[in-house]
Symmetry: C3
Subunit: 346 residues, 3 copies
């Protein structure tokens, strides 16, 4: 696809691509995408959150993507559709300059084992390393310095940014995006104890990642001990996330930054884990569970819903007093019960 940020797109074309209703001059060309506040006269913008409605009247944009209910208030051309945030997502991809930079082919400094099978249109960047038996499907992009271990498979149109590491025996589906510094298939944390020392349990399983999965920068997905760690289709994983061995994440679930999931835990479909959430090992979290930021979950969850732990932040002086009382909480509760009892009997 041409990069519209140079050549531009007409509003008529945009309306067609987004399935939106255009109210305005279809021949007007836009060359960029910006927020309501920042957009200039060559930009398209969007309104997807009523908190920003206050900026609509004064926008300088050529056109605004919005819900039909706001068309009348729009001071310029409008592209209306039912889910403008989804429309914005599509719009953002139209204006992404990244694809325009891709140059299929194997860079001469890349080290590709002779037994690797690279499909058409594959791009392997400078100083990348592709080990024996690897299979890269059509359109795969491997960034500079990335390493793909023996016998791993990367599905069609997946993109590994620079300095990604995929160990041996890992399978990644189609259209995956793996960000720099992430590591897929490192050893799970498995040791037997003899009463004095630790003895390593070789991690013989692999990692299976479905289609349309994204993994953020510097995240770790460990390989299984026996059997695989499994990330299902359309799972989105942010940066600095740790997924231990034999974890299973169900389709369409999203894990925000700094989440940690201990070994063998199963997370259902359509779950959302907030930033810094920790799940203990060997749990089952059912579909449709949302856990708020920095909560710890130590028991399985069998009902969809929103779950939380911890306390909110407060002034440190007040917090110190309350935190001391927390250590007395069981005693406080017992004293209350005793007093209630005494009062009732008096």
């Amino acid at each position: 696809m041409d990069n519209p940020s140079s050549s531009g797109l007409t509003l008529a074309e945009l309306a067609k691509r987004l399935g939106a209703h255009l109210d305005g001059n279809g021949e007007r060309v836009v060359t960029g995408l910006a927020t309501l506040e920042d957009a200039g006269p060559d930009d398209v913008t969007f309104l997807a959150n009523k908190a920003y409605l206050k900026y609509l009247a004064d926008t300088r944009a050529a056109a605004v993507l919005l819900h039909p209910r706001h068309v009348e208030e729009c001071p310029t051309a409008s592209l209306s559709l039912d889910n403008p945030y989804l429309g914005y997502a599509e719009l953002s991809r139209l204006f992404d300059p990244l694809a325009a930079r891709d140059k299929p082919g194997i860079h001469p400094t890349a080290v590709v084992d002779g037994s690797a099978r690279l499909a058409e249109g594959v791009q392997v960047g400078p100083n990348a390393v592709i080990e024996e038996g690897v299979r890269l499907d059509a359109g795969v992009i491997v960034g500079p310095g990335s390493v793909i271990g023996a016998d791993s498979v990367i599905g069609e149109s997946s993109r590994l940014h620079a300095n990604v590491t995929v160990y041996h025996g890992v399978t990644v589906g189609k259209r995956a995006i793996l960000h720099s510094g992430c590591v897929i298939g490192g050893d799970g944390f498995g040791f037997a104890h003899d009463g004095g020392s630790w003895h390593k349990i070789a991690q013989l399983g692999g990692v299976i990642i479905g289609d349309d999965v994204e993994v953020g920068s510097c995240s770790s997905i460990d390989r299984g001990a026996l059997g695989d760690t499994v990330i299902d289709d359309d799972v989105k994983i942010d940066s600095q996330v740790q997924i231990a061995h034999n974890v299973h994440i169900g389709e369409h679930s999203a894990l925000a930054g700094c989440v940690g999931i201990a070994g063998s835990t199963k997370v259902g479909r359509h779950c959302m884990l907030g930033g810094g959430v920790g799940l203990s090992g060997h749990l089952t979290i059912c579909d449709g569970v949302q856990v708020t930021g920095m909560s710890i979950v130590t028991n399985s969850i069998h009902e969809p819903g929103v779950y939380s732990s911890g306390t909110g932040a407060m002034d440190n002086a007040l917090w110190r007093k309350n935190a001391v009382r927390f250590k007395q909480l069981d005693e406080i509760a017992k004293r209350l019960t005793q007093l209630e009892k005494a009062y009732r009997q008096s």
Copy 2:
């Protein structure tokens, strides 16, 4: 060692290697290791946790590694020994295909400084970089894209996976395993303040890592400010862990994923820190301390035992009410005391 996953091992051979008592046909060959549920007729399996006892009767495995007390219930050949989990650890290493792939030698794309001393059998992967004065002892493996800084020493039989970074002046012992993306010897976080701006304190110490240490993917162990950060023998560190400058971790301790330890804290021997645990700086944690997941420790611990902080997860609506009350906790406690006093006087 041959990779038994291709050539196989007889049960008699396995019994001998594990020091187990065989009950069954010693000439039967097994070619793989799997769980009780998944094992096929060419696999050996193990029972090390009574939660899985229910799968024993129906296993299709050729042989089961288990405790002598379960031999009678075993429907197939048994390999019995006192610590079957430890036996499983040994078994797992017998079936690890990784070693079979190693190819000692220096890859032509590796950049090895002329002053580096590489012992026999060393393997340096594609695009790895070995700086001046580095010493790699016998059998060291440096994965693709890994970088070892000036004057660092890597002990016998240690393995650095792909894209590991070891700064200058770091010493790693024997049989270490450093996973991809981990960084050993980055600067500690040290700055002096002049009332307005920060002034960097150059981190002049190093990192000393003992024998049999494992460091997970994307973990950081910072170098000392003055003097060294020290990780003693047989310490096991999971992924996404942060160890600050001048920390000292005692022998046989284990740190689960996402642990963070602030500067100059000393952790004793045989300690276990659960996932996401945080230790403040300048603490002393005695031997034999266990801290449960996501707890924060802000004071030194002088008694072995299990320690925790935080609250468990609950339904968000209930949590919101309780979290509000936490902010009133000191006041609640005082009101209770007052009421008790009033009641006693009445």
Copy 3:
């Protein structure tokens, strides 16, 4: 600058460089820097914290950097100045061997795009990759295996250690230090939901990093969705930190290890976030806010001060009882109110 750890510096020279008052023999040469306890007769040391005053009398150091108030107690030469910790910072940089190892020039295995503009004195290490349109200003050092994406700019005298990744369209100011494994400019975590699946929002913004910024190992700073993620001058970021898209960190703020900041949050100037602190998205944190370790902040903060959340660690048996009571806390508070009311009416 010569590396004084080989050639040494006279005390007179040191006094001059530090602006300190020397009491002792100006011609004495020191070749190293160590702590009060560890310093030998060729070392200089410092006293900046009264907890170490007890070591002063027995130090073997050639000279001690200290506050004028301690000159009389000093058993050897003294270098006195008002902020000895700041003096120590300067001293540490004088004794840093790192600079002595730099070798300006482009290593033959580095891959530098023909369109990149490299100023004088730039150093690009083995197997580093510099993409098209990149600009490296005077004295920039790019470590082995580091990758700098298209059109990014690295300011004067900045140092990227080994295996750093900078995406396309990132601007880094002067004298920055980026540690190994850190990733600048990965995609923010942005997706639109259609009721079933996630749709990626291309992250079209960049990252702008000011002067004198340090980023620790394995930290992530994501690019903006639209508009930029901004890190102002003199911000210090430790290891394992996650900074999401469109975050803004004000000048002179410091973020300790494992901090996570969600999207679009603005942190003021002179803020200090303790290890493992989490900030929710779309918050405003005013200047001069300090948040203690592992606290979560879910609301904006408009008053400078110290803030905390959570509970301190305690013995696990006691903690279990108290954590159960936390789930009843709202109920406990209501029972207390009821009892107070009943008592008042009786």
